[in-house]
């Protein structure tokens, strides 16, 4: 029965990918495909952050470190080494794993706010490094001159549709993998640690080691988000490593909710749409967005997806059904979702 739930996830993923692949054919709009590409970048990134925030209970302010690292190492690999795209991708993930290993080993010892600030510090160190190391990174101008996109396995990312498919594919694949990880025994061990580290220790769990593992995994996926972004803008910019990127990811998971697996993706969709619509309608982007944020934070006090999921739970509970919402990807809400 359980293996079938893995199967179910795979099938859902396949269907979603098929739908995404078909979308441009029924609705041929460059604007729409650009949106999906950006959604891929931020969807992967935000979900990877939620591995830490939502599942491991590690509130990181510095996850942008890996977004920037991904974008730059991929861009540089393509520009300087002239490798193939899959090779550059593999290289990027490898590098992120190493960096996450080192940074994480230092960070995860600290608790709550101190962890948050230390991660932020490391991200800003990378940012300063990018700015200062002009010969390699192009400093504040970013990686200019475009990221070459040589064809591989018959895929040529110079063609818009191919780039679209590639990004959508990465999105679905990464989500599927992360979904599997949070549903693995390891994923549930993270939940134990998130809920009650002391009790987890008394069950003989090495809390530090598990947290580090989570940090590394999240970092690796986060960097893939950066890769997609660098493909979209065909370059990389210091902004990608600035704390505001972490801020946007945080905004996304708060907007969408931390307790449903797809909450962060929902948040990414909402924030990107908000951004696109509001910038279109008014010059006073900050004013409008700010008010919307307050409306959310003070009104719902939790992510939209969480809010709906809890309504759903209450309704089904009222119906006397004792089991969890059968909705796919449903997660028991954790202590983080406000109170």
């Amino acid at each position: 029965m359980r293996t079938s739930s893995t199967l179910r996830d795979c099938l859902i993923a396949l269907v979603i990918f098929a739908l995404l692949a078909a979308l441009p054919i029924v609705w041929p709009s460059r604007g729409m495909s650009d949106f999906v590409i950006r959604l891929a970048a931020f969807g992967i990134f935000a979900t990877s952050l939620n591995l830490l925030v939502g599942y491991a209970g590690l509130e990181s302010f510095g996850h942008g470190l890996f977004f920037g690292l991904g974008a730059y190492s991929f861009g540089l690999a393509m520009q300087r080494l002239g490798t193939s795209i899959p090779a550059a991708l593999a290289l990027t993930v490898l590098l992120s794993v190493v960096v996450a290993g080192i940074v994480g080993a230092i960070c995860v010892r600290l608790k709550e706010i101190y962890f948050a600030f230390l991660t932020l510090a490391f991200q800003m160190l990378l940012h300063s490094l990018i700015i200062a190391w002009t010969p390699l990174t192009g400093g504040d101008q970013g990686l200019t001159g475009g990221v070459p996109r040589p064809p591989f396995l018959g895929i040529s990312l110079d063609q818009p549709y191919h780039l679209y498919l590639f990004s959508a594919g990465l999105l679905v694949a990464c989500l599927l993998l992360m979904r599997h990880i949070v549903q693995s025994p390891f994923g549930y061990t993270l939940r134990l640690i998130r809920d009650n580290p002391a009790r987890a220790t008394s069950l003989g769990i090495n809390v530090w080691g598990m947290r580090l593992a989570a940090f590394i995994i999240a970092g690796a996926f986060g960097s893939i988000g950066g890769v997609v972004m660098s493909l979209f803008v065909s370059g990389a910019f210091p902004d990608f490593a600035y704390w505001t990127i972490s801020g946007e990811a945080i905004f996304m998971i708060m907007l969408g909710g931390t307790t449903l697996f797809l909450g962060p993706v929902a948040g990414a969709v909402m924030l990107l749409m908000l951004n696109d619509v509001v910038t279109k309608l008014t010059e006073h982007y900050g004013l409008v967005l700010g008010l919307i944020i307050l409306l959310f934070a003070l009104g719902l006090r939790k992510g939209l997806a969480d809010y709906l999921a809890e309504l759903w739970q209450e309704r089904s509970a009222a119906r006397g059904a004792m089991q969890l919402p059968a909705a796919p990807f449903a997660e028991p809400s954790n202590k983080l979702s406000g109170e």
Partner: protein, 419 residues
């Protein structure tokens, strides 16, 4: 306007925003246009510290576009400017440029972003093949580097290398006359600051070999406090200082230098003081700062220039600034190009603009040229002078000879293997 509006629901907020945008973005004549308007997309910075870029850039363009439309547009087709806020984020600049072309049906792009944004938009233009006019980026490589060059991208801004040569030749003369040997630089710590400074010193030495650089300070971009840099400068006690700080950083730097009485202790050469943003913002502007002109209604001292400035002030009730004239120029080139090509088709339009020379109040000799070889603006009025605390702020401006600029620019390109 909107203090009360805050408390209302955000949906209304968006709506009223929409109204505001309609008022700002699209202009009366658009509705009167019989045929489909020619839409020009303008990704620019309208929020945050650099919001000035957005307003002055858009105003500069509007002036030209209004004239064009008033004169009947392109065979009845009116031009409509669609400005969007990139918030200074390169990825937003890329995203918006694509959206403007792909979704909003813009046929031309005015890049009124900062340097980093300019490169992002440049990539989009390479990808989509639309004509893009870079309005504000002064980074030389953008047009000088053949690896970056594409047939449909032009630059209507002054260029770093030109400024440096101009500054070097002027500073060289002064250095010779006043015997200024010990020089120091204090520039913002990012690409523009570093390139500009390094090139300036290079050309200073070219024009006046026996100067030595005794120190350098690199404050961060947007750094609020320059005390650390200032005390360092006062430690070294140079005879002259060069700085290419700009905008709010420059005013803060001037205010803070003033209380250290710095301007009395050395000759100060700045590229960016002679622009009305600075000249009008700084209270009790120190006397005798050497500066290149960014925009002055008195230089070139022609009727056309004074008239343009007056129009601008009348319409937007603010001083025109460097970005204003650069954008006005870029817009003019594109609009003239449209007339000449009689079409918005990218290939035709680019061919029309490439190498074009137009009448302009900002030209060294009343004309401006979009140089064919590297598709960048040349022959704009550029000169140096010294400040006084009150209008006209810089009474005498010595123009720099473009022949000198051309020679040294070519040498510089050779050195960088650009040609």
């Amino acid at each position: 306007m909107s203090k009360r509006r805050n408390n209302r629901r955000s949906r209304r907020e968006v709506l009223s925003g929409a109204v505001a945008a309609a008022a700002v973005g699209s202009f009366p004549f658009v509705s009167r246009a019989q045929n489909k308007p020619i839409k020009i997309g303008m990704p620019t910075i309208q929020s945050g510290r650099a919001a000035m870029v957005g307003s002055s850039s858009r105003n500069g363009c509007l002036l030209e576009i209004e004239k064009f439309n008033a004169a009947g547009g392109l065979g009845g087709r009116m031009v409509e400017l669609v400005a969007r806020d990139t918030k200074g984020k390169p990825e937003e600049a890329a995203r918006l440029s694509r959206e403007l072309v792909n979704s909003d049906g813009c046929e031309i792009l005015f890049d009124s972003e900062s340097s980093a944004g300019a490169f992002a938009i440049h990539e989009v233009a390479k990808d989509l093949g639309v004509v893009v006019m870079h309005m504000n980026s002064e980074t030389s490589a953008l047009t000088a580097d053949p690896k970056l060059r594409i047939p449909n991208a032009f630059r209507a801004a002054r260029q770093g290398i030109h400024d440096s040569i101009a500054a070097g030749s002027y500073a060289g003369k002064i250095a010779k006359a006043k015997g200024l040997k010990k020089w120091l630089s204090c520039s913002p710590d990012y690409a523009y600051g570093r390139d500009s400074t390094q090139l300036f010193l290079e050309y200073l030495k070219h024009f006046q070999p026996d100067v030595e650089v005794v120190g350098e300070a690199w404050p961060k971009l947007y750094q609020p406090d320059y005390t650390d840099a200032l005390t360092k400068i006062l430690q070294i006690k140079p005879q002259a200082m060069y700085s290419c700080l700009w905008g709010g950083d420059l005013t803060a730097f001037i205010d803070q230098s003033a209380i250290y009485n710095l301007f009395a202790q050395m000759e100060v050469f700045t590229i960016n003081v002679a622009d009305y943003t600075i000249l009008t913002a700084v209270k009790n502007l120190p006397k005798g700062i050497h500066s290149g002109n960014r925009y002055l209604s008195t230089f070139p001292n022609t009727e056309a220039n004074a008239k343009w400035a007056a129009e601008y002030r009348a319409k937007f009730n603010e001083f025109p600034i460097n970005w204003s004239w650069e954008n006005a120029t870029g817009a003019k080139f594109v609009l003239e190009g449209l007339k000449k090509a009689g079409s918005t088709e990218a290939k035709k339009l680019s061919d029309a603009i490439r190498g074009m020379t137009i009448e302009s109040p900002f030209g060294a000799d009343g004309t401006l040229t979009m140089r064919a070889e590297d598709q960048t603006l040349v022959n704009y009025a550029t000169g140096w002078g010294q400040t006084i605390p009150t209008e006209p702020f810089m009474p005498e401006v010595t123009p720099v000879d473009w022949q000198v600029i051309y020679e040294l620019e070519t040498a510089w390109k050779k050195k960088n293997n650009y040609i």
